[in-house]
Structures are given as structure tokens and as C-alpha cells.
Symmetry: C2
């Protein structure tokens, strides 16, 4: 497949003509803040080619970016896909990749607006997603206050227990409702594991976090997988203690699992015991699989 | 270098604290269209690590994106850098890469607003640049009209003649003036060689292009390098035949090199002879160097 053929194949799969000018031209609506996120998906780090279908690879590449928009309480609008393709990624593989990616894009009304293509030795994909939130209303990780309830959607450790084989579902509808209905004070998506991501939220908010025994562990997952397994892509968020947490929102169970309190910023307690903020670190990933870091980030 | 150290090193080099939330939050001004471009810079395709310093590598990565914004007549505002780093890219190399990138960013008042970092086997960088133009005023490649003069800035073949060793200077000031003062009808940047890029402009505009003998060839460059060598990053643009082309603009010489006329869209003539639209194609690049494609794109 050469560059022109690749572009033609992608354009056929996309609803809109893709390429042409040096930049995509976007017209965000007034009164909105623009959200931008970039996410790498790399052969040997985030996936092994033989173990993930082309469609699942495309789905996963976009899901990572959409999940970041969800965590800010935003609506996703546009995506850009930059692909460095090795020899094994032939025309059929490329078709599958974009079919998977565009299936997820369509489900969330996200428009493929551009990207870059090249040959290389090792597959690399960089996904850029642009989204929007009402001005000044983005959910951030630094907004947690002392006494706020720490909550999660869905269950924890599912991806690790299943060997990271699922198609993750970005929680965009939930993120919007956390912002508009529950007035969440802070939020991020569980991409790198509860312990590490909660450590990040608590550090940014300048508080300690205390977890109780109410973790919604995915059936079959171990406590270790629930605490330190990445790629669950559920939302971790905090709400005011006065918030009446619904049992479900956007079709997902919500569980209060602890609270923020004064203390060493980012320090974690689980049932009164210190909990190390271990999780997924791409700098520690090996060819043989995902590795949890021993170093506090 | 681990992820946290890498982020700390980048933050120290950047004027603003970089990382934290899942997305960067941008607030474009009303009345503007947003421009977005993504550009890959890959080891073995766009550069060889031993032959390009870390600083030049960082500079070049951003220059590619800024040049795309220049070609649309826009102002660059924000950049995002996603880096997949192999073992040879140590902390010192990373420092140099960002020093080079940020030197160029500062020169054009572009803010580093985020990115992604990972380890990998082969170096890959994806640069995203966001810019802006007054609403509806972006220069596009499909606006050329029959009779329009074809013009270029600077000289052609310089990068090829010098072995692609220069730090390319994105023509942002010129692009803005082409839009606002000369009312250019179409524009793109010469990233892949005059013949190929002019072929793209003419194809998009539905016209043929005729070049005369007035090409501003860089001293020491061959005609082949001027026509088919990439990475000059000068601007190729068209203006109405009534336009009084200044000798220089934004400090750069401007040269009229031909005109658009009715004919097979994208077909090229040089001094009356057919000219093949050969140029730089990343799908044809080899480890041993840049290769010109024999296939018409």
C-alpha cells in the first residue's frame, strides 16, 4: 500500500473527505473551551500485533483519547490519527484498523479530521482528540476538597482480569452528567490503575485519600488487579459530601469508595494501611507484558 | 529516565507547567477558525539519529508543523508533542530535543500545551500544532484560478543540496502577509518538493500548471533537487494575475515561476515539456536515504 492508496482507503471508510490542506480547519462554538488530548498506541508497549486484531487496535487507539475527554466532562468532536506503519501492517490490516476506529467514532459522533501517515519499522499511532466543554466548566484533577467522597463508575480490574482483551468503552455520557448533574469536584479516567490515578488526583488536589473496603472489584479480578491494573477506563471522581450519589448514572453503577482528607498530598490509605501508588508506567513496560512500577511516581 | 523525570525535565524547559489533566484546555478567540496539523518525525524515515543532533531533531519536529500553519496563512498558538523514546534517547538527548523545539516555539510565541510520552524500540515523534486564522480566511490549496501566477518564496533545492542539514525556518510571517496583503488564492508549503507540491495544488484547484525557466534555484543545487527535493519549507502560492508581486515580503524574495491554466488537473509543464510530479513519499523512504517516487501521486 502506498500513501495515496492508504489515504483513499481511509477516505472511503470515513464519512467526509479527509485530506487536502496542510491543516484541518475547525470552527468551535463560542462560549466553549476546547479540550485537546494526545495518546500514543505503540507496538510492543501498549499491544502485541499478534494478540490484538486490527479492528480492536483501531478501537483502542481512539478509546484512549475519548476517555480523556470523558474525564474532563466534555463532548468529543474531532480526531486526528497519525500512523507509522511497519511492513506487517498491509492494506487489509489498515482497513480493519480504521473500521474499528471509525465504528467507535461514529458511536460518539466524532469526526475524523486529519492525520499523518508514514512507513516505519515499529508500529506507532498517535491519536489526537479535540472536544469541548462549556467555558470554565471542565472537570479537572485538582478540584478535590477535604471531605469529598471518592467514587468510581463500573467495576475495577476487569481489563487486567481479562488480559486486556476487551474493547474499552469511553464513559463520555457519564462524564457529562458528572459535570452537569453531580457537580463533581475532580475527575480522571482510570487508565493506569486506581492506586496510581487516585494518587495523581490527590496530589493535584493537595490532599490525602482514604479508601475503605467497598471497592467494586470485577468478578474474577484480584484485589491487586483492581488496585493496580490499568485500562479499565472507568471514571474516578470526587463529589461534595452533601452529594446524593445515585446508584447508577448513564447506565453505570457508581460506588463511593472513600474520601479526601488533609494529609501528605497524594498519600493513600486502604482500610487504614498505606497503599503504594503503583500502576501502569509505559517507561517500565516490557515486551513480555505490562509491568507495575515499584517506584512512586 | 522514567516518566516522572522526563516530565519534570520538560516542564523545567517550558515556560508553563505542562502536565496534569487528561486534556489541555484551550480558549480560542471568537471570530477565528482553528487550524490543526499533525506531523510525524520518525527514526529511519525522516532522520538518522547519528546524523542529526537532538536539538536539530526537536527543532525540525516542530518546524514541520509550524510550516503547515504558515501555509494556511495562520498564526501558530499551541503545540503538543507525543514522543516514543528508544533506549538511545537518554535524559541528555531528551533535554537537547526539547531545547531545540522550545527555541523555535519561543521564536514564534507558540506554547507547549501537552503531549504523551512512552518508551519504544524506534524513535517516533508526533507534533500537533494548533493555530488560528480570521474566520473563513484560511489559505487553501484548492483556491487557484486559471491565469493565476504561481510563485515561491526563497530558493529551491537548498535542503537537498545541503543534505537536509539545515534548521528549516517556517514562513509564518510570510504566510500571514500572503493572506492579508497579497490576497493569495492558494498556498501550501514545499515539504515534499516543488513538482509534487505544485501537482497537489493544481489538482485541488482543478487546473494544469505551466512553469517557465525562472526557478530560483539555490546556488549549488541541481535542477532535479530544486524540482523534486523536499524539506525546503518555502511557500508555494498563487495570486491573481493583476497582483503586483513585491520583490521581497517578510524579508524573503518572491519569484513568479509560472501560471495556472485549464488542462488536465494536476498536470505540469516545465518550459513546454511534461514534468513528472515526483517528490518525497514517506512510503517509499528507505533506511539508506530519501528516495523519490516514480509513481505519480
Amino acid at each position: 500500500v502506498n500513501e495515496l492508496e492508504a489515504i483513499a482507503r481511509i477516505t472511503r471508510r470515513s464519512a467526509s473527505p479527509l485530506l487536502g490542506d496542510d491543516c484541518a480547519i475547525l470552527r468551535p462554538r463560542p462560549g466553549e473551551d476546547l479540550l485537546v488530548t494526545t495518546d500514543l498506541l505503540l507496538e510492543g508497549v501498549h499491544f502485541e500485533p499478534g494478540k490484538l486484531s486490527a479492528r480492536d487496535c483501531g478501537w483502542r487507539a481512539l478509546a484512549r483519547g475519548l476517555s480523556d475527554i470523558a474525564a474532563m466532562g466534555g463532548a468529543a468532536r474531532w480526531c486526528f490519527v497519525s500512523l507509522a506503519l511497519p511492513e506487517w501492517a498491509d492494506a487489509r490490516w489498515l482497513d480493519g484498523f480504521y473500521d474499528g476506529l471509525l465504528a467507535l467514532a461514529r458511536a460518539h459522533r466524532v469526526q475524523l479530521a486529519g492525520g499523518d501517515l508514514s512507513r516505519t519499522a515499529t508500529f506507532a499511532c498517535d491519536i489526537v482528540v479535540l472536544g469541548a466543554v462549556p467555558r470554565g466548566k471542565a472537570l479537572r484533577r485538582d478540584g478535590g476538597r477535604s471531605g469529598d467522597l471518592i467514587c468510581v463508575s463500573g467495576s475495577l480490574g476487569r481489563a487486567a482480569a481479562r488480559g486486556y482483551r476487551d474493547r474499552p468503552e469511553p464513559r463520555l455520557a457519564l462524564g457529562k452528567l458528572l459535570r452537569s448533574r453531580l457537580k463533581a469536584t475532580a475527575c480522571l479516567d482510570l487508565s493506569d490503575g486506581l492506586a496510581l490515578d487516585l494518587h495523581r488526583l490527590a496530589t493535584a488536589s493537595g490532599l490525602a485519600a482514604e479508601l475503605d473496603a467497598s471497592l467494586p472489584i470485577f468478578p474474577g479480578a484480584s484485589l491487586d488487579q483492581a488496585l493496580h491494573g490499568g485500562e479499565d477506563y472507568e471514571l474516578l471522581f470526587t463529589v461534595a459530601p452533601s452529594c446524593k450519589l445515585p446508584a447508577t448514572l448513564a447506565g453505570l453503577p457508581l460506588t463511593a469508595i472513600g474520601f479526601l482528607r488533609p494529609g501528605a498530598p497524594g498519600s493513600l490509605l486502604l482500610c487504614g494501611q498505606p497503599l503504594a501508588p503503583h500502576g501502569w508506567d509505559p517507561f517500565q513496560a516490557t515486551k513480555r507484558g505490562r509491568k507495575h512500577t515499584g517506584k512512586p511516581l
